[in-house]
Symmetry: C2
Subunit: 343 residues, 2 copies
């Protein structure tokens, strides 16, 4: 299997510019072979318009595969994958299934990518439900991998246990985080807290060496643990609250700053500090997050990804495909290796 | 029944100073009759030490009821209420049950107050589970009432429906918010999104005139709706994420500001803006949140409450007790008045 990354050139808010430029940069600066999948004419136009002839320079490492359709952001996921067989997303996934590429990167419709991942790439044996993950910046700068953040609701304890194994393997084998500590998102840190599902998952995870117990939502970003496991409902609430809170704080601060001459001047002087903070909160450094539990490496970049985020997505996809993590996950999820519950 | 507010003088991080001073101020400036419940000697010492003789001035409106025990922050809730019969919290609740006071205010152990509320005051008929609520500031300055934020996990659809009715009645009858719009916290705004419980609750709430559908966590603080209903697990994740996010953003900004001379100067100039933002986010203006679904008015103030928050808590408790909201809630929850499901 060639170690090539198939990039959905038509997915995301800034397609095709961002995926094309990001993939070209990954090829040029990191030597990663990429295949841009989508409208061939548009892809080549973006490549040709890149400054300093970057697009032309990268031609050896960048191939283009034409696909005539596009999965839209508001398409119904399963229907989109089933009906738009020649969409950039479906074609990129099929290339990986058929061994023409080893990993896929997309900033397109998240639900469709998950549906396509399951339908076209398939689930790892032992995984009932693949999970959507995300990597968030932490206070100590190390980052935390959180899953599931919205692919599944009404998760059962065994699903949370599988998420824990999936997250642990990815964190250690692909991200290189050591030691890995996995915690359950809960409403208190003591054992026995929370809803039935989480309490049961706690009991089943106790025997694992990397299990660190419960973590409260307020402590997720402090970096005390590096993998946080939750149902997709709670994960979505967590992520969206974070988004809303950051937006509200910045907006309110802006409003307060606008009130006086001195504070406007102060804000000007603080510009580098705000920029530094923004960079710390910037997801683009992490290069997207994996759809975990699929048979092949599949990286979802944020819909708002620019070239830099896509480039990092290609890097992560390349590392993921070459890491052997998926084979390791299969091994870990063999029935004999999952504890069925503790005392 | 005398319209008196029983204040747990021993509850909260800053007891007895904050509850005593806050209650005295409520009596002095708002004319609210209060009874301070707790260690009589300590209470009088705080009153006597108040500047300008405020404590002495308020003696006509402030009575003291001695209680020899204190519910600690880490006491097991039900056990604390059952065993510490002479605790300030249990005595304050019993005063309301016995008609000696019309409402209770406490900044103490939340779980114990909820347990005491159920055991001593009792639930309104038609309420399976009382809920803990909170009032959050919104971008438009209006505030949003959220429930449940941690009293119940594994809520069933009928519980969410009851929360919706409880929240709506409190928002309109006590807070005076009009019109009231009630939404379910969900992972998407469209009908059909989310977990089974929330989907079922949606169907049952559709017939209500004040039902506004689903709201995503990121939009809760924008102020589009003024009552948000959720299971206590999701509500806790929401609140704690907010707390963690605000902490992380301020800490990071501080770190960035510390990096340069100009930005330090800028931060100095921005001080009023930061103070303004802090005031906007300050919970103390809202004066605590009600434990909804109990037969009597019971207001929980934040554990970190200062005198101002307690004073506002007394105001809210007084209004709540005098509003007739609880009788109205009983009426609303009569079996005939709750829709059993929609088409």
């Amino acid at each position: 299997m060639p170690a090539m990354v198939a990039v959905d050139a038509m997915g995301g808010d800034h397609a095709p510019e961002a995926p094309v430029r990001g993939a070209v940069e990954a090829a040029r600066t990191m030597g990663i072979p990429v295949c841009l999948v989508g409208d061939g004419e548009k892809i080549r136009a973006v490549m040709d318009a890149m400054p300093d002839g970057a697009g032309r320079d990268a031609r050896d490492l960048v191939t283009v595969r034409h696909a005539s359709e596009v999965v839209a952001g508001d398409d119904q996921p399963v229907a989109a994958i089933r009906r738009k067989k020649d969409s950039s997303m479906a074609v990129a996934l099929a290339m990986v299934r058929d061994g023409e590429a080893s990993a896929v990167v997309s900033a397109g419709n998240t639900g469709a990518l998950m549906a396509g991942g399951v339908l076209i790439l398939g689930r790892v044996e032992g995984v009932d439900r693949p999970a959507l993950s995300t990597i968030l910046p932490t206070e100590n700068g190390k980052g935390v991998l959180m899953l599931d953040v919205g692919a599944n609701v009404d998760s059962k304890p065994e699903h949370l246990v599988q998420f824990a194994v999936m997250g642990s393997v990815y964190a250690s084998r692909v991200l290189g985080w050591k030691p890995v500590s996995v915690a359950l998102l809960n409403i208190g840190s003591e054992q026995g807290k929370g809803c039935e599902t989480v309490r049961e998952a706690f009991t089943r995870l106790r025997a694992r060496g990397d299990f660190a117990g419960n973590v409260e939502a307020k402590d997720v970003l402090s970096g005390g643990v590096n993998v946080v496991v939750c149902d997709g409902f709670a994960g979505n609430v967590f992520l969206k609250t974070l988004e809303g809170a950051a937006e509200m704080i910045f907006k309110s601060l802006k409003k307060e700053i606008g009130k006086g001459y001195l504070s406007k001047l102060g804000a000007l002087m603080l510009k580098p500090a705000f920029a530094g903070l923004k960079a710390r909160l910037d997801y683009s450094e992490y290069g997207g997050a994996p759809l975990l539990g699929l048979k092949k490496a599949c990286i979802k970049c944020h819909g708002r990804s620019g070239p830099r985020a896509i480039m990092n997505g290609c890097r992560v996809a390349f590392q993921y495909a070459g890491s052997g993590a998926i084979a390791f996950l299969e091994e870990e999820l063999r029935p004999s290796s999952i504890p069925e519950g503790g005392s």
